[in-house]
Amino acid sequence: MNFLDADVPDPTDFPPHSTAPGLRALDGAFRCDICGELYDGPVTISCGHCFCSACIRMALANKQECPSCRKSAGEAHIRPNPVLENVISSWKEARPFILGLVRREMEHATTPQATTDKGTVRKRKRSVENSSSFDTLGSGVAGPSSYPISPSRGPAALLKSPSRPKKPKSAAQEIIDMTVPSSDIEEDETTPPNLAPKADEIVACPICQKHVRYRSLNAHIDRDCKDIAPSFNTVNSWSKIMGTSKNGQNKGKHKKTGSDSDDEYPLPISTYTTLKDKQLKDMLTQQNLPVTGDRSIWEQRHQRWVMLYNANLDKSLANRKTKAELRKDLKRWEEERTRKKKTAITDVKGYQIENKSEFNRLINAARPKAPSRSTIHPTSSPPSETKGPPLLSQLSLTEAGDSIV
């Protein structure tokens, strides 16, 4: 039963439509159809469907069509969707808050008491005030009382209110925050001020002024601010990057603002079958990736890296991971796969796919030993064909043969 103990945030955290109209559907609408998570680096393809950048890249590597509508699509059709990305960032902040509100609301509904009822009323009132300040700010057409039923104002308030006590995440949000009148600041006093930045928040490094995640700020300073993306660099790390990049087209990076993402080009997708071992190795070293393991591991490592790297570029600057973080992700991915390999016998098909080079080696090694039976088709070789010395390797070969037949 441990599957159900795991805390899986999903749309069903919200009550059904009859209790809380739209909320469950809203949370569902913010999720990628492939991974089921809130969009991570949302992108749009030519048919208009949205997916996480990494998810659609993986899907397109398998099949060049939209997973939702089957219209043909390719990597070239992928466009970042920064608006949706902003929406998701805000929703991530608002979600626990709204869940809390909903939970309280449900408790009142089940145990109606005088005192708690009062609380609800006050709560409602405050949200009305919220909207009124927003109204005067904006069009100011509708009266405050229209807030709970006005659908057009709902999302805007939702977007704005949770982000208020925090530092701006992007230029767009910054503008909104700048226009917030003083009445909003007063409101903040009703909620406890959240002075410490959250782990995911982007803060300026006190030394180099580079924008980094609060969570990685300490590590960043420990590294003498050296892990920086090209745009904010010191001379030191410049030479490092110039050394590893294949062509010296790193000009025009003296801009300080985060707008110069034009030097961050996506990596090309390679066809590994045509590459020599040395070339592939060079490609890995060029990206500062390890060259441990055999050739198939190199190919997978490089392919996964290109995917992670390009998907990361589809995110807005504030949400992007550093290359070091991406390398960590890649490492984790490889570790999980090797860990899985050890227990993979339960998943015979996956095990075979993962170990196909090893199986091929074993089959080729076993073939000369087997008595010459020319009629047997190689892929349908029954276990009897591998009657050799009872080696462990032969056992696994037999296993593979069994499941094919």
Partner: protein, 178 residues
């Protein structure tokens, strides 16, 4: 079968090997997606379908049940199926077969293999256990007699009484079938 043999081809000789290796996905995120699906399935309470992991600790093997849709010849019958997820799910379809013998034009009566396009070339990463089970349920009532896996069943489909006799001859209630 075809997929299996191609996966055993030498990696550099086969153009498919590239795709096969590219579709490897983080095991952790596959597990995450599967537990997400489980949650959705439990919460949505779709009539007549259910599925749950076979063993504790292994999210990659599930067992499901499908009730025959009412007003079809399968009404009142319950079928057990097994679902096996590959490590690169959802980019590759899960392997599904009937554990309960199912006399149906598109189901292999002995092995339980299913001939359904969305489980083969028409698979899409946005499909889930729930969509599969619902498709299978509707397949029961609306077989594709053009590409039968069980030709006898396909030819008998037009004569419901004879079909029902065959169906009941092979059918075993879920409790006995495992």
């Amino acid at each position: 079968m075809e997929q299996l043999t191609s996966s055993l081809a030498p990696p550099r000789a086969s153009p498919k090997s590239n795709v096969a290796s590219s579709s490897q996905q983080v095991a952790g995120s596959v597990a995450k997606r599967l537990s997400n699906e489980l949650m959705t399935l439990m919460m949505s309470s779709s009539p007549g379908i259910s599925a749950f992991p076979k063993h504790d600790g292994n999210l990659f093997e599930w067992v499901g049940t499908i009730e025959g849709p009412s007003e079809t010849i399968y009404a009142g019958l319950t079928f057990k199926i097994s679902i096996s997820f590959p490590s690169n799910y959802p980019y590759v379809a899960p392997t599904i077969k009937f554990d309960t013998p199912c006399y149906h034009p598109n189901v292999d009566i002995t092995g339980g293999a299913i001939c359904l396009d969305i489980l083969q070339d028409k698979w899409s990463a946005v499909y889930s256990v729930q969509t599969i089970l619902l498709s299978l349920q509707s397949l029961l009532g609306e077989p594709n007699n053009a590409s039968p896996l069980n030709p006898d069943a396909a030819s008998l489909w037009s004569t419901p009484t004879a079909f029902k006799t065959q169906l009941m001859k092979h059918y075993r209630p879920v409790s006995e079938s495992s």
